[in-house]
């Protein structure tokens, strides 16, 4: 099997993990102000502006560029179907997939209206449908039932899953018939991805930004309340459960490696997970896209509220837990190795537990400090 050691994730920990100075642990400085009269002085508007202008719109812009980079590599592969060009195509796909992790959580407004997340990243993909559409040449990618046959997971299958080696894959993708089957289908999938994401970006640029930022109040329908719900929902369902818990079998009782994000690539599930975890923590801290600069954020909001938990700074507790989760996950092998070679996959389960520990910190402690109520429920799916 081909292994593509893509980009090694060099995420330097910015929040110098000031490991709990164990000294204080015994003596509780019980001057806990409690839920007293800490009047809310934090302005939500600037936080929304920081999110929109320094994080969300730059991330969508970057994503759009990565997709056009991916298109260019596909064109290059079409012109010359070599193994080198397949590798270049795959790298461009991975870069775009990582860029996707930077916008996945923003399923609000234009992205929510088009259902961007499930249109671009429903996995596992249905390879039977993909094969049938590719060979048939007629399909409607806008159909909801075809979400499992397009987006990044479909490209994963077509770029990584058609054979055991790059030689075989190039032979399949570079053949004359492939021009009207696999390659034509890749073109269609990529076109669909670009149309949807460009639409979302242009709506952010042309009005939704102001709608979002100006809805600065504190109510169930205000931007902060709604987006904090979306953020935690994303973390809980798509990051924690989707990228880790479901393939690990936490919910079903059976490990499901085929449900890993980027399954056919073998190596990238953990890379994508860590990217997504970093994005989640960076968002919490208001860190600008592709920059070390920081703006108003949920962390700053907690500071303004003086939020503490068990005598400790809640912001620090949350950041420490993100760091712990990252360390544990980083220490693992690839997710496929962990799940397929260990029964039970104990180390990955332990790492999962650390990832899980962030959920109540956000979903209970943080939101109660901010007086935001959690409005989502996991539906039974009946």
């Amino acid at each position: 099997m081909q292994r593509i050691w893509g980009i090694v994730l060099v995420m330097t920990l910015i929040w110098a993990c000031s490991s709990d100075n164990g000294s204080g642990s015994g003596m509780s400085d019980d001057v806990d102000p409690g839920p007293g009269p800490t009047a809310e002085t934090f302005a939500r508007g600037p936080m929304l502006a920081n999110w929109a202008d320094n994080i969300i719109i730059p991330a969508y812009t970057d994503f759009s560029e990565r997709l056009s980079g991916l298109s260019a590599e596909l064109e290059a592969f079409k012109a010359e179907s070599s193994e080198a060009n397949l590798v270049a195509l795959r790298n461009a796909w991975l870069e775009a997939y990582k860029a996707w992790q930077h916008i996945d959580m923003f399923e609000i407004g234009p992205a929510e209206a088009v259902g961007l997340r499930l249109n671009l990243n429903s996995y596992p993909s249905d390879t039977t449908i993909i094969e049938s559409y590719a060979s048939k040449g007629t399909y409607d990618l806008k159909l909801p039932s075809n979400r499992v046959a397009k987006g990044f997971p479909a490209l994963d299958y077509l770029i990584n899953g058609l054979g055991e080696s790059d030689t075989i894959i190039v032979a399949k993708l570079g053949s004359e018939t492939a021009k009207t089957t696999y390659i034509a289908y890749m073109d269609a999938v990529l076109k669909d991805m670009r149309e949807l994401s460009d639409q979302v970006l242009s709506e952010w640029q042309q009005g939704y930004r102001d709608t979002f930022v100006n809805n600065e109040g504190a109510s169930a329908t205000a931007s902060v309340d709604r987006f904090v719900n979306d953020y935690i929902f994303y973390y809980e369902k798509f990051l924690r459960a989707g990228k880790m818990g479901i393939p690990l079998g936490v919910f079903s009782g059976n490990t499901l490696p085929g449900n890993l994000e980027g399954y056919y690539d073998n190596d990238i599930s953990k890379v994508l997970f860590l990217e997504s975890l970093n994005v989640s923590q960076d968002f919490f801290n208001g860190k600008h896209f592709a920059s070390d600069a920081k703006g108003e954020s949920l962390a700053a909001y907690l500071d303004a509220l003086n939020a503490i938990k068990g005598g400790e700074d809640l912001k620090k507790i949350i950041n420490d837990q993100f760091d712990t989760a990252r360390e544990q996950v980083t220490a693992l092998g690839t997710f496929r190795e962990e799940i397929e070679n260990n029964d039970p996959p104990s180390n990955m389960l332990l790492a999962y537990d650390e990832v899980q520990r962030i959920v109540p910190l956000l979903k209970v402690d943080m939101v109660s400090a901010m007086s935001i109520s959690i409005a989502y429920v996991d539906s039974d799916g009946d």
Partner: protein, 441 residues
């Protein structure tokens, strides 16, 4: 411990309609417990005895102990059998699943609905061999339809029409994206729903409609009806412990068990459903637990179960007043399943439509379920009158309102309409909309 039973013909067609309802229920539906209401309440230590009432006589006539589980035997042999109900619930499960298989023809689906012995309609060979069918017990209770063949035919025609609609409107548009006035696919989270031109999912209407037309109707309007329990010489044979031919139970015991089977027949622990889990029941047994998760109706499951046990014990004790009181409790409790759940889904639909980006998939799915539950309301019996809380005509009127805000049905429905229907139902059944839909903000 299920026995392979052979057909126990419960006379569907036999019609003792207005069988001069036993007037031994002079007992008030009073809030205050009395020593003669046939229920163990107040400080009583048995039914109508102990505490401030006369002391309970051990083994005496007014002491009926409620057994801990629904297990009854005679000389070491169980007397409980509801395999016919289990069979129909399983048929219903396969039927409902098949409604989402667009390769099926209308004829195949109709054949599953109205199965005939020996036909290979199901994957389960035991179901194929059975002479039972869903349709024969749809709107087929003695109390409500014994003398009302007109409504029975109309109700069966409703189901037939929905089956046909699923094939001729929805299946043919399987690869179409739904829009107002256009049947087809609708995304609902990660799932895909298939709706008709007005936004309704026929499969949900059929599934939730059968909760009333099959399960609830058979339980409350048929097997728990005094007219059925006391049919023919059932009292005489029960008093004399005369078993059914070749069976270990009396006719009356069996009637009660058949009612029980429609509620708990597919539970992993049918004798103690509180300990077991629903095992494939798509109907009443599935939803009673869901409604009981609402704190406002938390006793729904336990109270129904307790009343079933005590009523059955009363039949063994030949105390028919206690039996009928338990039947009334069950009727009142089970009526809450379609009514509470109907309001819950109406409000869920309203909330989904009110989102910043209206969630049509979520809303239409909820409202299609609501449609079926509201349809089921015509089978809920008000035990104080012996009549339906809502007649068929009234239910049809409520459902018409749901689709009347514009030419495209659910695509046009307004929150005012959803609230108005919710209020009508909640008021009729004696709860509030907020109690039924606590998550509805």
């Amino acid at each position: 411990m299920r026995k392979i039973a052979f057909a126990l013909t419960i006379v569907a067609g036999v019609v003792f309609t207005s069988c001069s309802s036993d007037d031994n229920d002079i007992v008030e539906q009073a809030a205050t417990p009395t020593c003669s209401d046939g229920i163990q309440n107040g400080d009583e230590t048995g039914v109508d005895c102990g505490g401030t009432c006369t002391p309970c006589k051990s083994g005496g006539e007014n002491t009926i102990e409620n057994p801990t589980t629904y297990a009854f035997d005679r000389d070491g042999t169980t007397t409980v059998d509801f395999s016919g109900q289990t069979t129909r619930l399983k048929m219903g499960g396969e039927f409902v699943s098949a409604l989402s298989d667009n390769m099926r023809t209308a004829e195949q689906l109709q054949a599953m609905f109205a199965h005939e012995a020996g036909n290979a309609d199901f994957t389960d060979v035991d179901l194929n061999a059975s002479d039972k069918s869903i349709k024969s017990k749809t709107a087929a209770s003695a109390d409500f339809f014994g003398g009302n063949a007109t409504d029975q035919a109309a109700i069966r025609a409703d189901f037939d029409g929905w089956i046909t609609g699923q094939v001729e409107e929805v299946f043919v548009n399987w690869e179409t994206t739904a829009a107002p006035g256009v049947a087809g696919q609708m995304p609902h989270g990660e799932q895909v729903r298939y709706i008709n031109a007005k936004g309704l999912e026929y499969n949900q209407m059929i599934n939730k409609g059968l909760i009333g037309a099959l399960a609830l109707d058979q339980i409350v309007n048929n097997y728990l009806s005094p007219a059925v329990l006391d049919e023919g010489d059932n009292r005489t044979t029960n008093d004399a412990d005369t078993m059914e031919e070749g069976k270990s139970y009396t006719a009356m015991e069996h009637m009660w068990d058949e009612a029980y089977g429609y509620l708990f027949g597919l539970n992993t622990d049918a004798a103690n459903p509180l300990a077991g889990e629903n095992d494939g029941d798509r109907f009443l047994g599935s939803y009673i637990g869901q409604v009981a998760e609402d704190p406002d109706f938390s006793d729904l499951l336990t109270a129904s179960y307790d009343a079933f046990k005590l009523g059955r014990a009363a039949i063994v004790a030949k105390d028919y007043a206690v039996r009928d009181e338990q039947a009334k409790i069950i009727k009142a409790k089970l009526a809450l399943v379609p009514s509470v759940r109907g309001v819950f889904y109406l409000q869920a639909g309203k909330n989904a439509l009110a989102e910043a980006v209206p969630n049509y998939g979520e809303a239409f799915h909820a409202l299609s379920e609501a449609y079926g539950f509201i349809y089921s309301l015509q089978f809920a019996q008000d035990s104080t009158t012996g009549k339906a809380y809502f007649t068929k005509a009234e239910v049809d009127a409520l459902l018409a309102q749901l689709l009347a805000d514009g030419e495209n049905g659910l695509w046009d429905v307004t929150p005012e309409t959803l609230d108005r229907i919710s209020e009508s139902i909640a008021t009729k059944f004696g709860f509030t909309v907020a109690q039924a839909a606590p998550e509805a903000i």
